[in-house]
Every structure is written in structure tokens, then in C-alpha cells.
């Protein structure tokens, strides 16, 4: 197992093992886990816990989730990271795991999480000139003006809440 001082919390939810690591130790923790055999990064994503009443004990609004898999032993491990700051910042792991490159770009695009050290941290799904990060919980659904629509005027102002 990786150094215990990196792990701040651990548990099992719905049968899935998970650990929480400190935001400053992401590279050390994930690099250590990769060398142990967790060589496949299944996915990397972010969860926005804005006004989440179900888990007040968890630190931070943004939770980064790295799902790892050991293809020999078939073990899975979920690594949670709570990055600080606005925009939240965390070290990039693009050189440790192949799929992380596009996953990090997508997470940046959708949540505005900045991955330090990523070679090309640009928007991947949204247009390059897009303003805002759509999957944040305070970004409204349906706030996008519909062009060429008869109701164009009423769509010009986004609704006040999501």
C-alpha cells in the first residue's frame, strides 16, 4: 500500500473501495498505486458538492474521483481528492496514465478544475470561446439562448436559478 501519511480517509461505499488522499499528494499517491499494479485509470471526473446536505463532514466543494483498476488481480480502487481554491488546482497525472490527458481536459472544461503541468489544458467538448463551466451546480440548465427561435427575446436572460 502507499504511504499512510498520504491517505486521510478510507472506506467502502456500495461495495466499492475508496481512499481519500491529500490534494498536495495526488501525484505521489497515484504514482505509487500505479507502480503497485493499478495501471488502468478507468475514468477521472469531478463532483460538485455545492449545497450537498448529505455529507457535511466532507471537506471542500469539488471532489475529484480517480477510478483505478488492477487488471491482474481485478481489484478496483477509487481515489478521492478535495482540491482547494477557486478555481480548484491539482497536479496533473497525464504522464502516469494514458487516458488522463483527455479526461483532465474534460474535467477542466466542465468544472474549471485546473490541472497544473498538463501540456494542453484547453476546452475539449465546449467551443474554445465558451464562458463558464457547464457541469458546475450553479450553472443553469436551459440558460443557453436559442438562435433563430421565435422566442429568442425571452431566452436572452437565463433563469435565475438552475
Amino acid at each position: 500500500m502507499i504511504a499512510d501519511n498520504l491517505i486521510t480517509d478510507r472506506g467502502v461505499t456500495a461495495g466499492d473501495d475508496w481512499i481519500t488522499v491529500d490534494a498536495t499528494g495526488v501525484r505521489a499517491a497515484l504514482g505509487g498505486l500505479r507502480d503497485q499494479g493499478y495501471r488502468l485509470l478507468v475514468f477521472l471526473t469531478c463532483v460538485d458538492h455545492l449545497n450537498d446536505l448529505s455529507r457535511p463532514q466532507w471537506p471542500g466543494r469539488y471532489e475529484l474521483v480517480y477510478q483505478l483498476r488492477n487488471m491482474e488481480t481485478r481489484e478496483q480502487l477509487r481515489v478521492r481528492v478535495f482540491p482547494d481554491g477557486d478555481p480548484p488546482r491539482v497536479e496533473s497525472v497525464h504522464d502516469l496514465f494514458g487516458p488522463a490527458n483527455w479526461d483532465e481536459r474534460e474535467t477542466y472544461d466542465m468544472f474549471g478544475v485546473v490541472f497544473e503541468g498538463h501540456p494542453d489544458l484547453t476546452r475539449i467538448l465546449m467551443p474554445d470561446d465558451w464562458v463558464g463551466h457547464p457541469l458546475r451546480r450553479d450553472y443553469p440548465v436551459g440558460g443557453e439562448p436559442v438562435e433563430f427561435s421565435e422566442e429568442h427575446e425571452m431566452w436572452l436572460t437565463p433563469p435565475p436559478t438552475a
Binding site: 495501471r39 471526473t45 463532483v47 458538492h49 450537498d52 487488471m71 478496483q76 494514458g98 483527455w102
Partner: protein, 410 residues
Amino acid sequence: MTDTSTIGQGVTLTATGQQGAFGGELLTVNFGPHHPSTHGVLRLIVDLDGEQVRRLTPVIGYLHTGIEKQAEALRWQQAVVVTDRHDYLSPPFNNLSYALAVEKLLGVEVPPRAQALRVIMCELTRISSHLVWLGTSGIELGASTMLMYCFRERDTILNMNEEISGFRMHTSYIRPGGVMADATPRFLEMLDTFIRRMPGYVDEYEALLTMNPIFRSRTIGIGRLSAENAKVLGATGPMLRGSGVPWDLRKSMPYSGYENYDFQVATSDMCDCYGRYLVRIKEMRESVKILRQALDRLPDGPVNIDDRKVLPPPREELETSMEAVIHHFKLFTEGYSVPAGDAYAAVESGRGENGTYVVSDGTHKPRRVKFRSASFVNLQPLERLAMNHYVADLVAIIGSADTVLGDVDR
């Protein structure tokens, strides 16, 4: 020429005026987004030296529809409908991974008949998804008859979809807690006919392509991906098995009762486009085997869990039972709540690992739904695969990766 030896190297924009190996300047060409061979709307910025690819930048996002955002605005049972629509060629896989993740959080397991029906729908869809791939890839490589043959069988599968779920493509058949409805006798009859005929049809496809000299010369040695690279790049599905790695979630980490079926994992050591073709052809044959076993051993019993908080009561009960009316009303006005927590469930779709990661905050709507799509990951090694190949081979390589752009962009 870019250095492609390091993994995860980000794609960069073209430097103009660079000299190619043949003495001329590199030419930057915009390939797509409306090119017919890009299987949707994929745009590639290709730097060409003569006719050889020296650098390739995929630009994606043209089919981004915000499905994950929409799912957050829907209730748990409504979100099934949007899961259909990201990988639009194989909706039951998306339904299944979502349903498995939600069932994991709810802590329920569906009855055996529902599991078998799920397997039947998934294997039918695997065949139909491979048929679309085979037909369109055939057209791109000059075998235009393939599409006619493949769509003939695909239409039979779509008819079966219609019979069992009422919808030909976006079936929404698999739902948390079970399936939409029991199989009709006519569906089982159609399935039996299909299983008896399909192996002969696969022979027909093979007769057209497997030993076809044009097809072979267009695919053998094109788009090589070694087993080690495929693992490092996170490729799954036929991309990984075409490189000789016997990794199939149905065998490696069984779900929905796949451990009870006898089938082989199709692999090929060719590591190229032809290898991926062989894997998909073999998978169609194995799927037919699974369908035969599932149909012969189809257990009796209910197709849904017996939980009125998650699934609506049967129509007949509504006329006699007040409780049923209350449950029905509650379910369709506010939905059900899922215990707080998060869960990830993955299934082996026709393209690779299609997974769903759901996060619940204890309310009747998901806090976050993340679709881990195989296409998004399998598209990343494209530059590595196409490097120093001709433009015409690029078309074969995009085809062999079998990406669905709706799945890439979600």
C-alpha cells in the same frame, strides 16, 4: 515530425513552413467534421507530408449534448431515457450500466428472468452494433455490398427491439429494478429464428471479406497497436482484444449473470485493423451462442424486483388497492430517493467498457451521473495509430476504432 514516444503528450497546433521528408512543405488539411467516413462529426487536423500523416489533432465536441447535465435535472427513473442517447448504436448497454450502478446504491438484485432478458438484449445489440460497424467499414474500404447484407440482419434485430419494447432504437428497456416488460411469445419466436439463421449470415460476411485480397491489403499491417501500448493507453473492447489481450468484462468481472454462460473471449494477435475485424466477427458468433443458451435456459418468474417504492404497481392492482394508487402517485410525482453515496458499474459494450458512475445525495435526483464511454478513450491513440500511414489508411483506422461520436462527446 512530432515525438509520439511519450504517452499523454498533448496535441498541439501546426507549425507551418515545416519541411517534410520528401522535400516539400507539410500541408495542413482539415478532415471533417462532415466527412462521411468519420462516423458522425469528428474533425481531424492532419499535417500531410505528400500523402503521409505526420501529425494528427482530433477536435471533438461537435455532438456534445450535455447529457450528463440533463441527467442531473431528471429524476432517477427518468434519467434512463437520456442514457439511451449517448452511444446511440447500443442503448441497452448504457441502460444496463446505469441500472447496475443505481441498483448497487439501492442494494437490490434483480430476479433471474430479468437478468437473462438483459443478457439477451445486450447480446442482440452487440450483434447489431458490430453489423453497423461492418457495413460502414466495408463501404469505406470499397466493399459496398456489405452494408446491404449487414442492414438486412440489423433490421431483424430492430424489429425484435420493437416487439419487446415498442421502440426500434432507443429502447429504454433495461431500468433500475428490472426491465420494462416481459418478453412476448412472438419475441421469443423471432429470437429463435434469428439464432438459427445468424451463423449462416456471418459465414456470408466472411465469404465476402475475410480472404478478399483488396480488404486484406487495406487492413493488414495498418494501424498497429501493440498489446503493451493498448494497455497503457487504456483501450478496451475490440481495440484491446485485437492486440491479443484477453480482457472482456463479461469474463473478467462478470455482471448480470454472465458467469453462467459458456462462451469464449475473442482475441487476435494481429494487432492491426484486420485483427480487430476478426475479433468482431468472432464476437458475433459468440454472441449467438450466448443467445442460444439464454433462450434455452430462460427462467420463469417476475422480471422486476418486488419493491413498490422503486417500480410502479401492476395496472390491475390500481383498480382494487388504495395503497397501489398511493404508490403509483408518489412514484410519478416525486420519484424515489436513492441512499447517499456513489457507485460505479461497468459493462462490456460492443465498443469496450461502457460504465456509469452515479453520485446520490439522498434526494430523488442524481447529484452527478458520469458516463465512462469506451469511444472517448479509444479515440485518443488515433494519432499514434495513423502516424506515417496514408490518408486512405486513416479512413480504415478510424473505422477500425469503431467510435460513435455521440458516445465520445456525450
